[in-house]
Amino acid sequence: MKIRIKYAKTGVLRYIGHLDVMRYFQKALRRAGLDVAYSQGYSPHQLITFAAPLGLGVTSEGEYFDAEMNSVTTSADMVERLNATMAEGMEINDIVALKEGAKTAMAVVAGSDYLVDFREGYVEPERFLQAVDAFYAQEHIEIIKVSKTKETLMDIKPFIYQMEVRDNRIYMLLSTGSVDNIKPELVMEAMCKYLQVEYQKMAFQVHRLETYMRNEQGELVSLLEAGERIS
């Protein structure tokens, strides 16, 4: 049986990279005594897969990983046992059992939304906040994508599903996944270009709100929708 675990990564843990987060949860699952399934062989490893890697320095309340289980208890019990062994800054929010035949979190990820805040001392937040609507209203938002061999012009507008001001921060819903993976930093870089301000990565503090997949109707819904709570 497969379960999907939703967690938040906040505070100082924003400095723990993706590979280390994976190692962290492998150990956490053991500490919590959850009955995770393992691969065969001399060095068995847990059968877990993560949804969408989070960049270093970014916080999130909408992270996911899937685990193949030999047996489960209830969602509430597993959440509680995991939370009893979490470091400050990691919190398990929900666990669902995936429906038969559900694809892995990594395979279904289609979008994520973010709040972008301003670090003091870099840019004038007002200028950005006032420009959000006009920036988003452009027909094309072009960026230069640099690959190993060439530089190509890319229009990212179709992959910005929503963009607005919320609570003095910039809210954006972006395409995420193995194709058309748009990072919020890229959007801010485009916005800096639009405002003719030099882009500085440290000017913005990014927080991910949720990770989404598409349902049968093609709407973006939470990754939790692929399963049901175990009671």
């Binding site: 100082v12 400095y15 990279g17 280390d20 150990k27 956490a28 500490r31 001399y42 062994t85």
Partner: protein, 621 residues
Amino acid sequence: MEKLALSDEILMEIEKPARYIGNEVNSVMKDKSKIDVRFCMCFPDAYEIGMSHLGIQILYDMFNRMEDVWCERVYSPWPDLDKIMREQKIPLFALESQDPIKEFDFLGITLQYEMCYTNVLQVIDLSQIPLIATERGENDPIVIGGGPCSYNPEPIADFFDLFYIGEGETVYRDLMDAYKQNKQMGGSRKEFLELAAEIEGIYVPQFYNVSYHDDGTIASFEPNNCHAKKKIKKQVVMDFDHAPYPMKPVVPYIKATQDRVTLEIQRGCIRGCRFCQAGAIYRPTREKNVELMKQYALEMIRNTGHEEITLSSLSSSDYTALPELTEFLIEEMGKLKVNIALPSLRIDAFSLDVMKRVQDIKKSSLTFAAEAGTQRLRNVINKGLTEEMIREGAMKAFRGGWTKVKFYFMVGLPTETEEDLMGIPELCEQLAVDYYTIPKEERIGKVSITASSSFFVPKPFTPFQWASMNTEEEFLQKARFVKDGFFQQKNRKSLNYRYHDADLTIMEGIFARGDRKLCPAILQAYQDGCIFDAWHEMFHQEIWDKAFNDHKIDIDFYTHRERSVEEILPWDFIDIGVTKQFFIQEWERAKRGEVTPNCKQQCSGCGAATFKGGVCFENKN
């Protein structure tokens, strides 16, 4: 906890910011308003190295069990951060509270290898504490050193207020009490050092005067303060089963060099190899109860979630209950899908069977610590291993399916001849010949025998402490001679020989048997830019050469010179239980090539029985 000592800008700029944020699982947070003593424990190397060290985990746990003490950790900032901290004058901080170390009561530094000495200065300096102990003020932390290199603390004596000689589990409580008492009485820093000097095992370097003969050897080593003892007695835990042991070791986020649960099954070693300092300073050998080990294994895996467990001791094969413990671990860890990493065991039927069960033999190799190429030289170093044992063990391994075998040797051992050096390739060749006596249909392809050698450094508190160490040229010449020897063998295609540069070995040799005259040179090398000397790519020979030259340090005086047994050695003021008389006797026996039986075969009267326990008394009830 949101408080970080470093800004987002810095953390996003440097490599592996997770080294500096603390907050790891099982790290200990306390309310600093409710504790009396703040202790910062330091391993002066990169975080990933320091977090792999068992000793710090033991002491961290021991201190934090004390209600009135909060022990935190710090490691050497990597050069990228080091540079930023200097430029921006950011004081070095402890990981847990992120508070500056200069606000602490103690900075404890473990000294595990000689090449960390400039990192010691880096940590003190970045903490904004004066480098020279006698220049520290009333509000500066007390800087205390411990660990194996404190058995000759003289090359770094100027930088420490105190050294703790021996195992940390014994008198730290007394030291904390003395500190609190002095603070309550409004005593000065000097008064505390005097109180500390009265505690067994505590050495206060500034309370001693050293004078020298014209030839540079020590003329006298005398206390200059009435509180200082003439001899400092090594501290040993004799109730080993009840010694504190961390059931909840700190679990790092980033991959440490050794990322696993470590069970310390035994301290000390019965073998008495004459080159080995650990074998002498940890005497007498003490074992931990096997039932306790089983209980610890389960509890520590549960509390850490580690995917691997290993055993720690100087010679695990000598642990009485090893079969019982490995049986238990294979059974229980198998259920939990926890890997078992076996330390180097003596190769015999038992260990081969165990290894076969815990690892994929196609991928693993077997390791023999042969140490020397001929029986004569193995007898000189008292390595109780015969050629027959090596060949028999290797044949068993070959028949068991292993085709990769590794050998460790030392080059530059006392009395070594060309014949002994040639014995290294010849022994390897013999094993290859042995391998091909196995009928073709029973063999799994070709054999691969890898020999690697290190260069021998004489250490204090060993029978070789008086011996001459080879020069860099001699070392390299010998290694090339051995390498040529390998090319002459018939099965050379199955054989492989590796050796390293000798420059760091020479440095290690200088510091290992150095005296106080080295302090200013080490200080200068640090001030001229040396840190992380143990990392070969960051080692700057030319800066060290200049520092030695400027301070008129004759390298050969410390390394190449054979000492007479009458000479006052810099570390003679330390009493490790094992007597100087015993070392002299062993030095004589070594030169005659005579083997001394191990502690379980027969007591040789080394002196460690003075601690009234361990192997010295086991067979005498």
